[in-house]
């Protein structure tokens, strides 16, 4: 498992995300991010280059609408 970032590292990530949080919200973020981090760490990586994600751009969806 990836090492959980320190609070200082999370503060930096939060600033990069545009979040300037008061202390109680920062603690919420630290706790919530721990849960998210554990989920992310369980998702397989190391995939073939050509593996498409579940959403791809479908250009026909953006053709002009004709009545």
């Amino acid at each position: 498992m990836t090492a959980m970032p320190t609070n200082d590292e999370i503060a930096l990530l939060a600033r990069q995300a545009g979040l300037d949080l008061k202390p109680e919200y920062f603690q919420e973020l630290v706790d919530a991010y721990g849960n998210v981090r554990r989920m992310i760490d369980r998702i397989p990586t190391g995939r073939p280059r050509g593996d498409e994600p579940a959403h791809v751009f479908v250009p026909t969806k953006f053709l002009p609408v004709t009545e």
């Binding site: 991010y33 998210v36 992310i40 369980r42 998702i43 994600p53 579940a54």
Partner: protein, 468 residues
């Protein structure tokens, strides 16, 4: 209380079409019951009584002149308060949208209005259909009509409560990880998450674009089919909406499930997340009903539940953060604590992590469809019976496994129906899952089950409980 409050859509529609029931009379019955009893449940956040009376009167005149235009003509309904309604506030239960009055209807509201439906109002939800139940948002949380101390689940909580309580025969909810099926299960009604893309989400406040589904809740599967017929169809303004033929859903309700092949995900139910003994017994009894009707049951193996949860929730937290980023940066105090906790860490998810989760979704969806190709439907419990209405630790969203989320990941249609009642009177639930765009088989199975069992004969008794 009037018997009119407990007519199904199918019954009311027949009576209206034969001029034995007036839409005005029907609407007044619902408005009177809401007025008398919704203070017990808080299932509505906005009531549109005068508009409903005007729509009912107009419907009555049109039907008298030229007959009904649909089976919803003159039938009251309500909407989860994340469906845009022109001129009627749409709050998402959030202080951030306390004064939000859309100027355009959502696609589904357009369809229901065109079908002649009568809008009663807007239903309580969890904040932005994600964080809850909460006591620090715009309105109090809805309560379960079978027992007010219990939760109607979420996030379409007011929708489930309103239908079960006889406040409305029809409502629409949304389902990103189970938010139609869980309230349907908790409140003992029918709720369908259609195939991803079958119903337009245009004008619905997003939760997580890649997993959001709009769909109906009603007392019976037959009523769900009637509602689906109105709202299903291609909408070019929703880029996720599929352009597929729309079958006659009501015609699919033949009552015949002989030869139906039912898959049961035994590794989930026996190893990964075994249900409680009463829930397991209710599920086994439901399977026995299908066997008695001529269906066969076989075990199937799907990828672990945890894989579905991890992929979906990683994707969701990133999408949720993006949707609410501006407000989280500038006015985080206006979010309820539950929702804020559940979305704020999405700002720290890197693009690579989001895309790896989307790649994992591809694998899981393929695995799901491969299993579905070997059976007609899957069956499993939707949820355990409802728990007490009390704050849920927000971290539980990330840690608990769910029997509903995998079908948001796969995009498959999934119906929850009532499968009996626990010792404390709260409903059990059965989930029926179909192949992509095969709502007909799912609805046929749900309808056949309801007609072979007595569960639709029992309603919550709100007045008796309050006066006891």
């Amino acid at each position: 209380m009037s018997d009119l409050n407990f007519l199904t859509i199918a019954e009311a529609s027949r009576l209206i079409a034969t001029r034995k029931l007036s839409p005005v009379e029907l609407t007044e019955a619902y408005l009177a019951r809401i007025e008398a009893l919704d203070h017990l449940l808080d299932s509505f956040v906005t009531l549109t009584a005068e508009r409903a009376r005007a729509e009912a009167k107009a419907a009555e005149a049109t039907i008298a002149a030229s007959g009904p235009v649909s089976r919803m003509h003159g039938i009251p309904y309500c909407l989860k308060d994340i469906y845009d309604t022109a001129g009627i506030r749409t709050t998402g239960m959030s202080k951030l949208l306390a004064d939000n009055v859309p100027t355009r209807d959502s696609y589904c509201q357009e369809r229901l209005a065109a079908a002649g439906g009568v809008l009663l109002g807007k239903n309580a939800t969890w904040e932005f259909a994600h964080g809850g139940p909460s006591w620090d948002v715009l309105f109090p949380p809805a309560r379960n009509p079978w027992d007010r101390d219990y939760s109607p689940a979420g996030s379409s909580s007011g929708s489930g409560a309103a239908v079960a309580a006889g406040f409305s025969p029809a409502t629409l909810g949304t389902d990103t990880g189970g938010s139609i099926r869980s309230p349907a299960a908790a409140c003992g009604i029918a709720g369908l998450k259609p195939t991803y893309g079958l119903v337009s989400r245009r004008g619905v406040i997003p939760n997580c674009f890649s997993h959001d589904h709009a769909g109906p809740l009603a007392w019976t599967t037959e009523d769900v089919a009637i509602l689906l017929q109105i709202i299903a169809g291609h909408d070019p303004e929703d880029p996720g909406c599929a352009d597929v033929p729309i079958p006659d859903y009501a015609a699919a309700l033949t009552g015949d499930v002989k030869g139906l092949v039912i898959g049961v995900p035994t590794t989930w139910l026996e190893d990964e997340a075994p249900p409680s003994a009463p829930t397991k017994a209710a599920f086994e009894a439901a399977l026995e009903v299908f066997r008695s009707l001529g269906a066969t049951v076989r075990p199937v193996t799907l990828p672990p539940l945890k894989q579905f949860d991890d992929a979906k929730k990683t994707i969701a937290v990133a999408e949720l953060f993006t949707i609410h980023a501006a407000d989280l940066r500038t006015r985080p105090d206006l979010f309820g604590a539950s929702l804020r906790y559940r979305i704020i860490a999405g700002g720290l998810v890197r693009a690579e992590e989001y895309i790896q989760a989307m790649r994992q979704r591809t694998d899981l969806a393929r695995a799901m469809q491969a299993v579905m190709a070997t059976v007609d439907v899957l069956m499993l419990p939707t949820n355990e019976p409802a728990g007490k209405l009390e704050p849920i630790p927000p971290a539980s969203l990330f840690t608990r496994t769910s029997f509903t989320t995998p079908f948001n990941v796969g995009g498959n249609p999934a119906l929850s129906v009532c499968s009996g009642y626990a010792a404390n009177g709260l409903p059990f639930s059965l989930q029926i899952v179909g192949r992509l765009f095969d709502e007909c088989t799912v609805l046929r199975a749900g309808d056949a089950y309801e007609k072979a069992t007595p569960w639709r004969d029992q309603r919550p008794v709100l007045v008796a409980k309050e006066t006891a």
